[in-house]
Symmetry: C2
Subunit: 350 residues, 2 copies
């Protein structure tokens, strides 16, 4: 059976389709009498009516959906942000379409979607963006892209979190434990966010009178974290390493394990962003939590503001970074052998 239309409902309820539309959309202007209203609602239910979204979108010239462009679906931090976006968007009556940039390759699917009117706007993680793709976009459309976690050249807005401060806090924590020989592992300096982490790292090192040892990876995967950690070990024999993203951490743990280095007895590890992974790693990972979820919420809200015609500048999420102390960092001890046979004292998870 064909999908019911407004006309079908109108026919059954013996009213004009336009009235059905108004009633079903709770149009405040022209309200129907209680009786006809009921007739219409009944008819709609009976015919199992649902609006044809393409027709509505065409008419309204808007889709009430936004696109969320992520670099990697499995990344736990992305997931946190995505949840925030999904939640706030839903509250504001918007649907969200998620795309994984690595999948869509050179296809520019999202840019296409925006220019075709598939979505009203795009929320883009800066590290998942290839700025060249935006070139062909008109100014009107460019305005409808909101970068998350960094600025994008040519765009006047962004929603960011304080990466630099988080990196500083990581260093400070390590220094507080007596570490002087630490190496930071950072993503390629292609975007704003990894750059800011390096800036914070350097700043804190300098402030503490430590030489900043920095390793730049070639990518964003666990494997990159693994390789960098291996290099950090052989190059510097550090007492602490700072893989600056959740993705790198699993690789770092693996490299340390492979080299028979215990965490935190031999090497302390700390990272940025708190997630379920950091909680369930062995040992659980100390980190500086950034308000990822809130960034998602705020970004969704701001983008919808933009769609509604408002101007948004560069905003930073207000909630400050917070140290989440777990078991991957420890005091530097001269005589490590005393620790080797120590029994693990680990508070069970609640």
């Amino acid at each position: 059976m064909r999908k019911a239309t407004l006309r079908d409902v109108g026919k059954l309820a013996k009213v004009d389709p336009s009235l059905v539309s108004r009633v079903l959309n709770n149009d405040p202007n022209a309200s129907a009498s209680a009786r006809t209203k009921k007739r219409i609602l009944d008819a709609a239910k009976k015919l199992n009516y649902t609006t044809n979204i393409s027709a509505r979108n065409l008419k309204l010239a808007s889709t009430k959906t936004i696109g969320l462009l992520l670099s990697d679906l499995t990344n736990p931090t992305n997931d946190l942000v995505a949840h925030g976006v999904l939640q706030r968007s839903a509250e504001l009556g918007y649907d969200v379409i998620i795309a994984n940039h690595s999948d869509i390759g050179g296809d520019k699917t999202f840019v296409k979607m925006l220019s075709q009117g598939h979505v009203d706007g795009i929320l883009a993680f800066v590290n998942s963006v290839n700025e060249a793709e935006f070139e062909e976009l008109s100014d009107r459309l460019l305005e409808r892209i909101l970068p998350m976690n960094g600025k994008l050249t040519g765009l006047q807005c962004s929603v960011t979190v304080d990466d630099a401060l988080a990196a500083e806090m990581c260093v400070d924590h390590l220094v507080g434990l007596g570490h002087k020989n630490m190496v930071g592992i950072f993503a390629p300096q292609l975007h704003d966010s990894p750059k800011r982490r390096v800036v914070g790292f350097k700043k804190a090192c300098t402030r503490n009178g430590i030489e900043p040892k920095i390793l730049l990876t070639h990518g964003y995967s666990q494997r990159d974290g693994y390789l960098a950690t291996l290099e950090a070990i052989s190059e510097y024999s550090p007492t602490a390493i700072f893989p600056s993203s959740n993705a790198y951490v699993l690789g770092a743990y693996r490299a340390l394990y492979e080299r028979n280095l215990r965490i935190p007895d031999d090497v302390s590890v700390i990272t940025i962003h708190n997630s379920e992974v950091t909680e369930y790693l062995s040992p659980p990972l100390t980190n500086v939590m950034l308000p990822a979820n809130e960034m998602g919420k705020m970004a969704a809200e701001k983008l919808i503001n933009i769609i509604d015609g408002q101007k948004i500048g560069h905003v930073t999420v207000g909630i400050p970074p917070r140290l989440v102390l777990r078991s991957s960092t420890a005091q530097v001890i001269g005589d490590k052998s005393t620790l080797s046979s120590e029994v693990r004292v680990l508070k069970p998870l609640s």
Copy 2:
């Protein structure tokens, strides 16, 4: 500046909009002369024309996009499947919209999208489905839902991998290493897939003359794996555990670590599905690989077949499960103390 329409392009190229449409869509029926064709193409480029997707969808009564319903974005196995779906769909000219079921809660967003004509069909991971949501769907629409990794009551089609055999292979591997005291950790028996894993586990245990020890979790998270492993240890003191999903594994490692049990020296661990996580865990995790990526590809293809009017039955992906040997399983040894101080011999990753 307003988005250019076919009329605008037609006006500039001095032809009828309908001809523009035909040319831009490479309509095989009516082709234009080389000269007008060029005029049209030039005009389109000059005006930066892109089709209005809502108008096209309305006209064609189809959207060339499918919905992918996942339980959890961060789950590495889901990610494998998603990649397969994305890839094959793209090849066949379809876009994919991803939704995370836990986010959309009781909202039935996807069911809504299907009935509103937002998507032409849905690929649904069975464990992310609440069958009650489908009730209000007409038969015509129900046909356009293809369950992945299990059957759904009322639906005549599915794309599956051989979970039961994979579970059997896990047991067989363990038995081959001398294990007799193993416990399997399985998801709630609400859907086809976890049920089949239990079936395979039991079957292999029985075949090998072992009593099947089974723990059923209440959920699908790392935390559930953690709690179940803790229980497995205190209840059975097993020499091997089989957390039956990637998600459980991190929790299992954590529980073992917390109890000071070494992998694989004290307890062997094996799971189903191969992913980057299994590779980078410490120690790297032995598993039975299932063709998750292929399942995604096949599912996408089959769903598109369905959309095109074909009938699909219940199909299983042909590629057989395969044991991926890493370092989390070992021979059961009577005197464990000989192993304790052994140096780790671990081949570095290539």
